[in-house]
Symmetry: C2
Subunit: 199 residues, 2 copies
C-alpha cells in the first residue's frame, strides 16, 4: 500500500469549510465503528463510506488511502503528563481512573479501536507500538523514582490495558460487572507497588 | 453455523489409530497457525487443510465444522491449582512465571490463539470468557483471603494477560526486550498487592 498525501479539505468558503469539517468527522466516526467491528484488514473504503452516508469518492478525497484514514481515526493523545500526581499512589489512581473512564465514555475510542485492530494487523500494531513507546512510556518513566523506571512504566501500561480490554473489549464477567470506583480501589495498590517498590 | 457431531476417528486397526492421532495433531497444529494469522472469521477449512498437507475432506471427517475445529485447537487447561503456593507472594510469582513461560514455549499456544481471535470474533470471545470465568478465576479465588476474592482473582488474570499479550502478541518494546526473570521480579509485588492487600 503506497502512502498518498491527504488532500486539503475540498471546501473553499467558510461555510463550506465547516461543512467539510463535519463530513470529515462523520467519516472518522464511521471508520472507527467499521474498523472496530471488522478489523483493519477486512474494513473497506466502500464500507466506511456507506456507514458514513457519503460517496466512496468523498472518503478518498478527504483521506486518500485506507491506511491514512486508519491513522487519523485511531489518533489519540494519552494524557499521561496530566495524570502524574504528588505521590505514586495518586499517579497510579489517576492513570487507572483516566484509562477506564476514557474507555467507558466511548467503546469505539481511538485507543480501543487501535488495540483491537492490532491483534490482527501488523500495520495497526506498529502504530500502537510507536505511540506507547515514544510518548506514554517515557512520560510516565520521568515520574518513577526506582531502577528500571522505563520498564516499570511500560508494565503499568500493559497491566492497565489488560484490565481495560477484559472489561470493555472481551466483556469478561467479574471485571465487567463492577463499577469503576471499585476497580480503581483494587487496582491502585498493585500499580503503586510497580512504580514505587518497597525495597 | 450448525454444530455437527465430530465423527469418531476413521481408523480401524491399532496402527491406523496411531496414524489417525498423528493426522489429528497435525491438523490441530496447522489450525492454530492459521487461526493465529488470519483470525477466526477469515480462516477456512480449505486453508487449514492446505497448511496441514491433508485433504479438506479429512479435516471435515476429523472435526466436522470450523467451529468444532477451533474449539479443539484452542482448548487448554490453565494450571492455576498447581500455581497456588504457601504464601501470596509465592502464588503471584508462580502465576506470573507460569503464564509467561507458557507463551514463550509456543507463540501459537491455544491461549494465545484464543485471545487473538477473541478480539475480532464473538464466538471466540465466548469460549475465552467461559474458560476464565468457570475455571481459572474461581480456582484462584479460593487462595485469596480478602474481600472481593473473586474480583481480585479476575483482575490478576487480566493484568497478567495484559503483560503477556504486550510481550508476545504486540511485541511492545520494553516489555518484550527483557528476560522473563526480570519481568517476574517486577510484576510479583504488584500481583501480590492485589491478592493480599495490606489493610
Amino acid at each position: 500500500m503506497t502512502s498518498e498525501p491527504v488532500p486539503e479539505s475540498p471546501a473553499t468558503s467558510e461555510g463550506g469549510e465547516r461543512k467539510g469539517q463535519r463530513t470529515r468527522r462523520r467519516i472518522l466516526d464511521a471508520a472507527r465503528g467499521v474498523f472496530a467491528n471488522l478489523g483493519y484488514e477486512r474494513a473497506t473504503i466502500r464500507g466506511i463510506a456507506a456507514a458514513a452516508g457519503v460517496d466512496k469518492s468523498s472518503v478518498i478525497q478527504y483521506f486518500g488511502t485506507k491506511q491514512n484514514l486508519f491513522r487519523e481515526a485511531v489518533h489519540w493523545t494519552i494524557p499521561v503528563a496530566d495524570a502524574i500526581g504528588d505521590t505514586p499512589e495518586q499517579t497510579a489512581e489517576n492513570l487507572a481512573r483516566g484509562m477506564l473512564a476514557a474507555w467507558a465514555a466511548d467503546p469505539n475510542s481511538p485507543m480501543a479501536v487501535l488495540l483491537r485492530a492490532s491483534m490482527t494487523s501488523e500495520d495497526a500494531a506498529e502504530i500502537l507500538r510507536n505511540h506507547i513507546t515514544s510518548s506514554a512510556t517515557p512520560t510516565l518513566a520521568t515520574a518513577i523514582d526506582a531502577p528500571d523506571a522505563r520498564l516499570r512504566a511500560a508494565l503499568l501500561g500493559a497491566m492497565l490495558m489488560g484490565v481495560a480490554s477484559q472489561r470493555y473489549l472481551l466483556q469478561m464477567p467479574d471485571v465487567a460487572d463492577v463499577d469503576i470506583d471499585k476497580l480503581v480501589r483494587l487496582i491502585t495498590p498493585a500499580l503503586q507497588a510497580l512504580i514505587s517498590p518497597a525495597e
